[in-house]
Symmetry: C2
Subunit: 188 residues, 2 copies
DNA sequence: CGCCTAGAAGCAATGAAATTGCGTTAAGGA
DNA sequence: TCCTTAACGCAATTTCATTGCTTCTAGGCG
């Protein structure tokens, strides 16, 4: 009845995992992402390189894992009283975080060491969950609200496309315009 | 920035560049992207590894350059007689190519080895150029047509977002629906 | 409560790749 | 044609990635 643990959840394994993740975060802050290597991270974490290779395969997968943690939202979106206000605030914050140099770096890392796309999917799921909260709140208020998929197509996707493919001017006004559009015709 | 534009345009340098690019293409086809290394590519190209390192910095930047070449459209979009038909056909083909495993691999490579984002910007410019042709043709016909930026936000960005972050079902019907929406409210 | 088993980490050797100094070649301009 | 200098080749060195084998320990069982 106990599920056989594919990864041992507690004890030394957990300690090693946390230690390695912490080492990555520290070294990223100190030396930058370019300077990271597996032996370096392992030394900082107090483990041997082979442990890292066996558990994560290579440096990129490890960085991808850590990046996804950085990309996880820390709080539910604020409740400002209306769907439009909530969505605008969320979109502005999202754009702000994701378009920043560290945000862009995390997105790239998350996409990079991700053979099966599960980490990228996780990132998308984070955004979808946040939007879900906003939309559910709107529904409770009795506001008519669009579909989550629609908000992703019309708000999240354009922002992310520009972040990734069009390094340049991206401001809160753009985010607000996207939200406006997403809400303007949400009743087909 | 990739050192491509400022290298000596003719003679040996050009020959080396072409030779290295060809080697990457061949080895990608023969062994897959995972198996590529700088010494391997250099050997196939008939140059020394140091040449590759000095010119491209590392393997990812080289792969990024080659990937952008793969992503360049080979023909102008077909003229099917109407804006809607043209855009639908273009979007379907775009989705088809980009969502395929090799297409996804090229997109990833183009994004990854791209410190300043110039290669990613080039990819976006390719799509924008193609859309521009379609829209200009529509204008000549007297059709009312949306803005290029609008088409990118509403057609290209959603497709690309799903390709990158949501590995899963993506079909021509989805592309058509996006085109429909982009055109439905674009007649000011 | 202590044994058993298997998964996880450590150690160490090996092969390959990244990196760099230095000499040589040839592209582009005077 | 000559001259300057970017670009290339060669080779040595350092570092990294990879893997067989050993040791340790978490979790289950008698």
């Amino acid at each position: 009845m106990s599920p056989k643990p594919m990864v041992r959840p507690g004890g030394r394994s957990a300690r090693v995992q946390e230690s390695v993740h912490a080492a990555v975060r520290e070294l990223q802050a100190e030396l930058g992402r370019e300077a990271l290597t597996v032996p370096l991270v392992a030394a900082r974490a107090g483990v041997t390189p082979s442990t890292v290779y066996r558990r994560w395969g290579d440096l990129q997968e490890l960085l991808s894992d850590v990046a996804v943690e950085h990309l996880r939202p820390e709080e539910p979106p604020a409740d400002l009283g209306s769907l439009r206000a909530d969505l605008e605030a969320w979109a502005e914050q999202f754009l702000d975080e994701m378009a920043s140099p560290p945000g862009r770096a995390y997105i790239r890392d998350a996409l990079l060491g991700d053979p099966d796309g599960s980490n990228a999917g996780q990132c998308s799921a984070y955004a979808a969950d946040q939007i879900d909260v906003v939309l559910a709140r709107a529904a409770e208020r009795g506001e008519s609200a669009p579909d989550v998929e629609r908000v992703i197509d019309r708000v999240v996707a354009p922002m992310m496309y520009r972040i990734l493919f069009r390094p340049g001017e991206l401001d809160a006004a753009y985010a607000r315009a996207l939200v406006e559009h997403a809400l303007s015709l949400s009743k087909p």
